[in-house]
Amino acid sequence: MTSDRTLRGKVAITGVGETTYFKRGQAPDAEFKLALQAILNAAKDAGIDPREIDGFASYSNDRNDPTRLAAALGIPELRFSNMLWGGGGGGGAGAVGNAAAAVATGMADCVVVFRALAQGQFGRFGQGRATAYVMGEAAMTAPYGLMSPAQMFAMKVMRFMHDHGIKQEALRALSLASYYHAQKNPRAIMYGRPLSEEDYDDSRWIVEPFRLYDCCQENDGAAALIIVSAERARDLPQKPAYLLASAQGSEYRAGAGVHNAPTYASSSFTLMAPRLYEMAKVGPGDVDVVQSYENFTGGVLMSLVEHGFFKAEEANEFLVLENLIAPTGKLPLNTSGGNLAECYMHGLELQIEAVRQLRGTSTSQVANAKVALVGAGPMVSPASNMILGTGETL
């Protein structure tokens, strides 16, 4: 890789914005209005006029069209609009990478990455659809009662746990960490609702090996991040969170139909994680804090292994609550409460939390955090990840 062909240090996240987060179906506003609110909040946080925004990037077939957003916001010229293919939250970090690529190459100057969800207004993720017929891959899975995301991913995790002798308690620790951090975060949906080991053990199975608390919430709200060049970021009020690397994609034939991916028991990061570290010029030991997308705890388990934080055989030993909490843990994880306990904003809240950690403004702050890693949408394809760093890391 020549030095020119990298995103390292070229752009920064300089503003973050969110709406209030709501339980699924309870947002008082239309989804498009939520998107506008989050974008305006991000612009305000960045200290820029919203009309400086000249590009939009999103993922997972977000319904809020950049052309309409640009018109609604009176954007003088739309220069970049971009959608990362794929469902779930797999594109969250990749959308930042796409926005970064546009800014780094001069296609646009100020790109907002956003995601808005109002599941009261639109359909839910976690429910099968009642139709007379199914075709294609669904015809070979849905008639057997395999249709929701939890059901699609449980067999990957079951196989991974079988191969490496991983116990349920390892998944429990991941869930407890998110709930622990949510108790310190007033924005979190689960603020004031702590989770104990007993609560977890007594909770119902959704689909083995996932109990209720292994599964993400479904929520309403919107989130946005403002990406500008590193030079511009230095003139703005917030401490810049520089993008050190971003990667997206999947493994060899991850899309082979009907659960035929050769690397089946995987979070999709086995090839992407080394690529990410190479661009960032850091290794797992340099990472101060991790935000790892919890669609299901089992996906976090595999993500952490594939990003090199511990070996699969060490998972039972490593995945205990004390190792995963800020500020004292070896690997502070999902420090805002994440998808499980802060809000399921399709992972964009995790990226905002990574920025907060580097600014020093998290409600569960890691002392002197310089390098933050974000993994988006494990087990889906494409998935994506990114590493952010403070100015000292450049």
């Binding site: 015809a139 070979m140 008639p143 009662g145 249709m147 083995e208 035929n260």
Partner: protein, 147 residues
């Protein structure tokens, strides 16, 4: 066999062949009690799910070939929380991912017949059971039982 109760209750969506014909030989096969997957005529590589091209040698000469309806359990899950109205009263059920050693180790999804509370062992040998569904949208599902 049509008298037999199906593993999951009626009311789930029925499978249908794709309009472009990609998977038609599979559906025709199981309607006749024959399990077929794709195999490349050029390089003999097995392939599943179906695709228009062989992923190994990029030949378009991909055919459907009958295979031995036996496999081993590659992974499994026990579903407790129903996400479809037809399954509200179904109780737990088991989904298995079956690897077919005689067909290039391709995998298929089905249910594991028998007690839904049974212990499931990864690596256990299983054999296919062709489960006929009548009603408005007649079709056949490929289920598995421990061999």
């Amino acid at each position: 066999m049509s008298e037999q109760k199906s593993y999951l209750p009626d009311g789930l969506a029925a499978p249908a062949a794709l309009p472009d014909g990609l998977d038609t030989p599979y559906w025709e096969g199981i309607a006749e009690g024959e399990l077929r997957v794709q195999r490349c005529r050029s390089c003999q590589t097995f392939q599943w799910g179906p695709e228009w091209i062989c992923h190994s040698c990029l030949s378009f000469d991909v055919s459907f070939e009958p295979i031995t309806p036996r496999g081993v359990i590659y992974s499994w899950e026990r579903v407790w929380h129903p996400v479809h109205p037809a399954l509200k009263e179904a109780g737990p059920y088991i989904v298995v991912l079956v690897e077919l050693p005689d067909a290039g180790r391709v995998r298929m999804v089905g249910n594991l017949l028998g007690d839904p509370g049974q212990e499931v062992e990864i690596g256990a040998p299983v054999e296919a059971v062709f489960e006929k569904h009548g009603g408005e949208n007649p079709h056949v599902l490929v289920q598995w039982r421990v061999a």
